[in-house]
């Protein structure tokens, strides 16, 4: 993210993270930091991304959780709805202590409503029961 001053205005440049294209989105901010204009996005997801990034930056946490009695020791998991960027490493640290029982399926909710923030940690792979 880069910010440059243009008189009373500021121009902010972000790389949109919503898809692998990574469009460079430029936002013109007014004297009271209000959003005046957004350009550079190839689709409308870029607008939502920048608005969110300015207000309350969020990121997806990809990690793996220990599995008990499964054919493999780990199941991949993620936060399908991005979570507050500043809290990501805290959830990451807590997830290291977690364990789920096999079988685990794609979509199984491992943590629901973390810290009351509506953040969900969901399995993104399957691990059948077995050794």
């Amino acid at each position: 993210m880069k910010i440059s001053k243009e008189g009373d205005y500021r121009r902010r440049t972000d790389i949109c993270l919503r898809c692998p294209q990574g469009c460079e989105v430029e936002t013109l901010l007014g004297p009271n930091d209000e959003i005046l204009n957004i350009t550079g996005n190839k689709c409308k997801l870029g607008v939502a991304y920048v608005e969110q990034e300015i207000k309350d930056p969020r990121r997806v946490l990809p990690t793996s959780i220990r599995v008990k009695n499964g054919v493999r020791p780990l199941v991949p998991a993620w936060t399908p709805e991005p979570m507050p960027k500043g809290l990501l490493l805290e959830l990451a640290e807590e997830s290291r202590e977690m364990e789920v029982e096999a079988p685990v399926h794609v979509g199984d909710v491992i943590v629901d409503n973390w810290r009351g923030l509506g953040v969900r940690l969901v399995a993104s792979g399957h691990v059948p029961r077995g050794r």
């Binding site: 790389i15 692998p20 990574g22 460079e24 997806v60 020791p73 780990l74 993620w78």
Partner: protein
């Protein structure tokens, strides 16, 4: 030993290309399909790619790798496609003899009517980049480290330096940090980022991990375990600049220095390789020069997005099934010269193109995806041109050209008609 000739199509490799190929091969007139995979599960590299970024085009969704793979596995489960897991293909001949080995059935010999090569790629190793120093423990390629962390549950080390700013390296920089290790820096030999910009933001910038361009590793220190590395800056010709050496204390060095198509079986089968991609030369049907052998996915050339790998797999699977049903081996040799076609070669600022050949008959109004890998970093509006004898036949504009990002152009039937009308045999794809 008896030869099994039951199958119309055998697909080698059950990663995203192979899964898509097997499904499409069956869907095309209900072919008899066998899918062979050396691992004990399906999905190829996807099960260890636990980050999101898969499926934006195919499913309109930003999925983690394992979930993308599961979508294909579920489709496959409903079809009568046979699967051999834990099985290695040890030989492939130009006559389509396939020899396999596994611990339950031993050595077997198949001769299908068509083959799809979908073995993917392997990582460039330390010896291939001639990195001097000790052979201490703690040196891993990024994909190996990814497997250790995401599948086996091991941390490779605590204080990590990563060589290479490709996507695998950056993704692992974030992964190590999420699991409590310290990533000291990411070093890149070239003067530009070789992975996606979005990964620079969400993997490095977000965690204040410094990226040093035009920098490489000169030497590794440590007798039994890595104790540190020496970095050195390079000039525009990638030569070391004497006097810029710096020592970084660390216990792990992760190498993300390139992916190379897996071409041992391709060579054994006499498949012609393209020195630009290091993979087989393929046409718009994903056919190689050996009749009946098709290739799709990273085995043909390194892709950035799995969605396009799946699409290439679909083309290969369908074409292989059509070939199997038509079986015009002798007829093709003659028809080769008569079939109207055009070759596409890389030109200015283009490193490689896939497919390298387009046949104009047999397209059935289908779109063709032209994949071009730039080999120059141009952060400005660029013009991509397809020319014949220096005459421009077709062109389009792009916002930039980055080696890290393949330029993919959908050629519609009317574009293909333009190329056909130009006459001639060889087009050059260039960027200016």
């Amino acid at each position: 030993m008896e030869v099994n000739t039951d199958y119309d199509v055998i697909v080698i490799g059950a990663g995203p290309a192979g899964l898509a190929a097997a499904i499409e091969a069956y869907n095309e007139n209900k072919s008899n399909v066998l899918l062979i995979e050396r691992n004990d599960s399906l999905g190829g590299i996807l099960p260890q790619c636990i980050h999101n970024g898969f499926g934006a085009i195919k499913f309109g969704n930003d999925l983690p790798g394992p979930e993308y793979a599961v979508r294909y596995e579920e489709q496959l489960r409903d079809l009568p496609v046979e699967i051999m897991l834990d099985t290695m293909v040890v030989d492939l001949t130009p006559d389509l003899d396939i020899y396999t080995m596994n611990s339950t059935q031993g050595y077997r010999h198949f001769r299908p009517r068509a083959v799809v090569l979908a073995m993917g790629c392997r990582e460039r190793t330390r010896s291939q980049i001639r990195l001097p120093g000790t052979r201490a423990a703690g040196i891993y390629t990024a994909g190996t480290a990814q497997r250790l962390v995401n599948i086996e549950g091991y941390m490779p080390g605590n204080e990590i330096v990563i060589l290479g700013s490709g996507d695998v390296g950056m993704i692992m920089a974030r992964r190590f940090t999420i699991e409590g290790a310290r990533v000291l820096s990411v070093l890149e030999l070239l003067p530009y980022l070789t992975g996606l910009r979005r990964n620079f933001v969400q993997c490095l910038q977000d965690y204040d991990i410094p990226l040093h361009l035009s920098t490489t590793v000169n030497k590794i220190y440590g007798e039994r375990r890595v104790e540190g590395i020496e970095t050195v800056k390079v000039d525009e010709h990638l030569n070391h600049i004497s006097g810029t050496e710096k020592f970084i204390k660390c216990d792990t060095l992760v190498l993300s220095v390139g992916l190379i198509p897996e071409n041992e079986l391709s060579r054994k089968a006499g498949v012609q390789l393209d020195p630009h991609t290091n993979g087989p030369i393929v046409d718009s049907d994903m056919a190689t020069n050996v009749p009946g052998i098709y290739a799709a996915g990273n085995v043909a050339g390194i892709y950035d997005l799995v969605d396009y790998v799946s699409m290439a797999g679909e083309v290969a699977g369908r074409s292989a099934a059509v070939w199997a049903s038509k079986q015009k081996v002798a007829a093709k040799a003659q028809a080769e010269e008569e079939r109207p076609s055009i070759t596409i070669k890389p030109g200015a600022n283009v490193g490689s193109v896939i497919p390298q050949k387009v046949y104009f008959d047999d397209l059935d109004g289908r779109d063709i995806y032209l994949n071009m890998r730039p080999n120059a970093l141009l952060e400005r509006a660029v013009k991509v041109e397809l020319s014949l004898d220096s005459e421009e036949i077709m062109s389009f504009r792009e916002k930039y050209a980055r080696p890290a990002e393949m330029i993919i152009r959908k050629l519609k039937p009317r574009d293909i008609d333009k190329l056909k009308a130009a006459g001639g045999h060889e087009l050059i794809a260039g960027i200016s």
